[in-house]
Amino acid sequence: MVFRSSLTAVALMTALLTSVGGAWAFDDAQYPNLKGQWVRARAPAGVTGQGPFDPDKSWGRGQQAPLTAEYQKALEASLKDQGEGGQGGWQGGRCLAVGMPGMMTLFRPMEIIVLPEVTYIRIDHIRDSRRRVFTDGRDWPKDVQPSYDGYSIGRWLDTQRKGSFDTLEIETRYFKGPRSFEPSGMLLHEDNETIVKERMYLDGSNPDLLHNDLTVIDHALTRPWTVAKKYQREKAKFPIWPEDMCVEGSGLVYIGDDMYFLSADGDLMPSKKGQPAPDLTYFKPANKQTRK
């Protein structure tokens, strides 16, 4: 009788748990609370430049990036061009996607949406980028369309053995270019064979501080380059999500490889001293009476 009633109890529990399991597809208590708006943490005192890739060092040469000689030379050329009024190797001036790993500097706020199969990372900078970090156990696909953001596979870990996940490990591959680490125009290799490895986890003592230990493996580098990015959660209950429309009022016009400014009255202007005007070969002589 005891045996039979135990069996009944077990069957009942199994039935209940099965039905609960069927309905309860997502237990978000198993995941860290990453809701809200994240911005990059304030740089340490003395760090200069716009959005340096290693947030603890000033941008450009100050990064002391382990660049190969060829890519160090490219960085110098980019800095020189920027010094003369150009954009150097930075694609943001053309409103092209920053892509990985530069986008994780957070030039604009970030939202992280955790679902069992995918973690979405939304960052509205230049384009409304959304990284999809697949956590559904998939393997690398055989055929992937290269992209600026890359293809990301992630794995949640319970490193503290507390019965819930605390760390998201991500690997990202399959890129297109050009991409640069930061606005100084520090380029990634043109072969686009970059691999980015990330470990994202909340700070042990501050739940509003998110760490992203990010390692870049790229042929522009002499060795893997690891930086420790930190993001701060904003306190607003209903944060404002800005729409960053890069092309709106950018004031820059690219014709071929040349960049020009657009004047307040809508006319082309040189961006550098002595810059030639654009070639008007394709306008018929009769049409070359320019607009006034």
Partner: protein, 289 residues
């Protein structure tokens, strides 16, 4: 003995169920299953580029209820496009289409449902949306909201069939910036950007791979509200491919002042229309010309 074991089983079950309830902050089964990749449904007989009202061809057959002033703007846009221009379509230079045009949709759509927000992710120019379903009301101070092309959306889920599962998301969207047009022909919205859009995004469990969006536009360019019914279909792939579209990459349109030119294959400026004059180069020194 039976009583005691049943009691024990009952207590255990209760404890397990309680712990499940406490942990279960997001009961997905209450929401429709919108996972996967959605694309606009084809309408038999409708041809050409995607139209705003998907049930009619693009252009005049749309028959939007425009006021005379805006009808004239649209006519001018169609005429300019016939001549090779871009007319009233602001997206040629990779400006966001904004609401309601983003819901055409041009690219693949993903709908990510969480209790607080439904995210509509669209791979096109700059089209993604957040629909807040956290019970917030419209802010008292309208100035606290930055106008955007996609607007500010508040939604409410409802269970219209009493099945115990939400099937309809009602959305209202306000607070816009412009310029925006309803479609690629340049059907205009009013420049005052006071548009209001009301949507009913509906999922029928008997047709799980179809989704409808009834959108009503209230705008000062129109003589009356304009309602259209859009349909989306879910692709069957278990792991759909999400293409990344970067509009500025390889965009051949160059806007200088009020003129739009083409970029030739060899990177030079070209006229977009017969007889178009080149840009004014007065800011270049004579030796630079």
């Amino acid at each position: 003995m039976l009583g005691r074991s049943l009691m024990a089983a009952g207590m255990l079950t209760a404890a397990l169920t309680m712990s499940c309830d406490a942990a279960r902050a997001f009961d997905e089964s209450k929401y429709p299953d919108l996972k996967g990749q959605w694309v606009r449904a084809r309408v038999p007989g409708v041809v050409g580029q995607p139209s705003y009202d998907p049930n009619h061809n693009q252009g005049k057959p749309q028959n939007p209820p425009l006021k005379p002033k805006y009808q004239a703007i649209w006519d001018a846009s169609l005429k300019d496009q016939d001549a090779g221009g871009q007319g009233g379509d602001p997206t040629y230079g990779c400006l966001a289409p904004g609401m309601p045009r983003i819901m055409v949709p041009y690219g693949d759509m993903e709908i990510v449902v969480t209790p607080e927000t439904t995210h509509i992710l669209l791979e096109h120019i700059h089209d993604s949306r957040r629909i807040y379903t956290d019970g917030r009301t419209w802010p008292k101070d309208a100035d606290s909201i930055d106008p955007t092309f996609s607007g500010y959306s508040i939604g409410k889920w409802s269970d219209t069939t009493g099945s115990g599962r939400y099937d309809t998301l009602e959305v209202e969207t306000r607070y816009f910036k412009g310029p925006r047009a309803m479609d690629a022909t340049g059907i205009p919205l009013s420049e005052d950007n006071q548009s209001v859009f009301k949507e009913k995004i509906h999922w029928d469990k008997n047709k799980p791979d179809e989704l409808t969006d009834e959108i009503t536009t209230f705008d000062n360019a129109f003589t009356q509200p304009w309602t259209v019914l859009k349909k989306y279909e879910r692709r069957k792939e278990a792991q759909p491919v999400w293409f990344e579209e970067v509009c500025t990459e390889g965009n051949q349109h160059i806007g200088i002042g009020n003129e739009v030119y083409y970029l030739s294959g060899d990177g030079k400026l070209m006229p977009a229309k017969p007889g178009q004059a080149p840009p004014d180069l007065r800011y270049f020194k004579p030796s630079q010309k």
